[in-house]
């Protein structure tokens, strides 16, 4: 119980942190007019594919949790590994995107868009990374046999955090990739 309350509070406060970053992005990218060139620099389709892997990982973690509650250690292990793999693919996609942008000379210091884009997506990526580290620790603990029986709230808590990171990405993706498309089309 305590752990779940705690993780809910963490999610609440982190949510506000991201809200501040998203507000900053909107302020910087939209207030003085969105620059269509930025849109062309982004590869929205590819990013959409990588986003799907992240969204899928929420589902796979849900499977992992279900297996845990049914005392199915093997299922737990497999689904956890799949989740981590999907998370890693997402991070790989992000790294790919970053390298592409940097090659186009869009960096943290090159423009307002660069500044706010890299900060927002970077902090999100950091949270994905933290999630993966937590999963890594869980993996070791599972192998050591700490999660053979249901009853611990730790897996559920890690899951809530992971779903939260997913939802944040949904918002970030909408604001950074989808909205400008609508904006520019108009």
């Amino acid at each position: 119980m305590e752990n779940k309350t705690m993780i809910k509070l963490v999610i609440g406060t982190e949510g506000i942190f991201f809200l501040a970053l998203i507000m900053a992005f909107v302020y910087m990218a939209f207030v003085s007019g969105y620059e269509p060139a930025n849109l062309h620099a982004l590869n929205i389709k590819l990013t959409a594919v990588f986003s799907c892997t992240l969204f899928a990982s929420s589902g796979t973690f849900w499977m992992a949790e279900k297996n845990y509650n049914n005392s199915n250690r093997k299922g737990l292990l497999t689904w956890l590994c799949v989740t981590m793999l999907l998370g890693l693919i997402f991070l790989g996609g992000q790294a790919h995107e970053y390298i592409g942008l940097i090659n186009k000379e869009i960096t943290l210091s090159s423009s307002l868009f660069g500044t706010s884009f890299f900060t927002l997506t970077g902090f999100h990526g950091l949270h994905v990374l933290i999630g993966l580290i937590v999963f890594g620790i869980l993996l070791v603990l599972i192998l050591l046999g700490d999660f053979d029986r249901p009853g611990s709230s730790v897996i559920a808590c890690a899951g809530m955090y992971w779903h939260f990171v997913d939802i944040v990405w949904l918002v970030v993706f909408t604001v950074v990739y989808v909205l400008p498309v609508i904006h520019v089309l108009k």
């Binding site: 309350t5 705690m6 507000m23 900053a24 302020y27 910087m28 003085s32 943290l108």
Partner: protein
Amino acid sequence: MTDNIKIPETKQAIPGLSINNNRGLLQWITTVDHKQIGIMYLVVAVIFFLVGGLFALLMRIQLAIPNNHFLSPETYNQLFTMHGTTMIFFVMMPAIFGFSVYFIPLMIGANEMAFPRLNAFSLWMTFFGGFVLYFSFAAGGAPDAGWFNYAPLNEKNYSSSPGIDYYCMGLFLAGIGSITTAINIIVTVLHYRIQGMSLTKLPLFVWMVFVNAFLILGALPSLNAALAMLLLDRQFDAHFFTAPGGGALLWQHLFWLFGHPEVYILILPAFGIYSEVFQVFSGKRIFGYSFVALSAVAIALLSFGVWMHHMFAVGSGTAVNSFFSASSMLIGIPTGIKIFNWLATMYGGNIRFTVSMMFAIAFLVEFTIGGLTGIAFSIVPLDWQLTDTYYVVAHIHYVFIGGSLFGIFSGLFYWFPKLTGRLLSEKAGKWFFWLFVIGFNGTFFIQHILGILGMPRRVYTYPDLPWYGFFNFISSASAMLMGIAFLLLLWMIHSARKHGTASGSDPWDGFTLEWMAASPPGNQNFDRLPVVHSRRPLWDLKHPDNADDE
């Protein structure tokens, strides 16, 4: 007599919880005991108060006469920045957390915080945050752009010393510590209350700190985001706050979205302390419990909707200004409810003028003055004249000292016997009270007038205009009284610990559970506890025939 219940065992195994009589330094550093952590928070607060106060006294010496050359402008600017930052983040926050983590478990009949290790982590984050901030002195210059550190003055082009980088990192660390403490407090209050103590029966101190914790969770992230952005700007040439067309204002929005709730974060726990003190020393229960409790929620909610009242002079248009004017004024109502309910609590009581109670009574008047000058700012045209003058400095100190600090002092005199088993001397305490209160009013009341006469804040010196020198001199001289008073308090604490009168477990005839524990409380806090039926479990025990009815 009553249905005594044993307190439940701690739910989690707590490492290192072996308080023996020889508490070595190592034992203090590694402890996860909420009482020791609470005391360490208080010690951190006292040390930083000495430093922050010393800075203030140096500033007052510089300002005592016109055209003074005691401090260089660079030094002065570092001093007022560090003074404000220290007082807010490393005096008031730790003091509040100290009382919170010490007394929440005791007041709700628990034997620990929910997450003891996290509790220790929070303390050390606060401590290291302060350390990093102060390291800037050694690293080439303290931050010098004011506690709210406006952009673009906080950027590399205008502030090339590394001070502001340390400001970012120090406050970020302390901010994480505050967030984890807030989480810990909420979980503790939600899950560790003794049987019978529903949320509507919480002691008001616990209630205020509980509401406050949500305020912290809501406010701190936006500071952390702003600090992260600023650090990216300074270290990696990002362009958040140098951006043409509003970057400078983005900082102000983010900062005050944190900054305004922050000032209420510093007052709500003090309101909690006063609520306990007024009840006990009037011998009555609180008048209008639900009004006092719910008005805190109202203040907390409103506080997120007023941030632009710090920005009335940026030129944002009548509609925006009107909105923030109205929301700021509205806060006067729930605060007024509290003031009048405390007066009503005293009404008809049997008032004992202990030092603790005297600070609470003085608070009523001083805080009303400070609150009303706040209302002056919420009247936009007046703010246009008064903003960034000494009138603001006066407002700050009337609410921070007359509000928060008096609350801390009141709590210190009230709970010191619980912390140490000894009473602070009431006689010396009265000296302390009068010295401090006179010094405080002498220093800051006159600053209202200086502000009206046109003296801006944050000036290292001023020309010899009519009255300026005279008023500033009075202000500076009175500030010294506060310094003397505080040294007296330190001596009192020292001598009380050495040879103060033993207090017993319940020196003030208290109402709440902490007075059932030994002074200082033992390892497990309580030996026995009653089932709670009302908001004042101890009153019920002492007056079974006149027990509270809820």
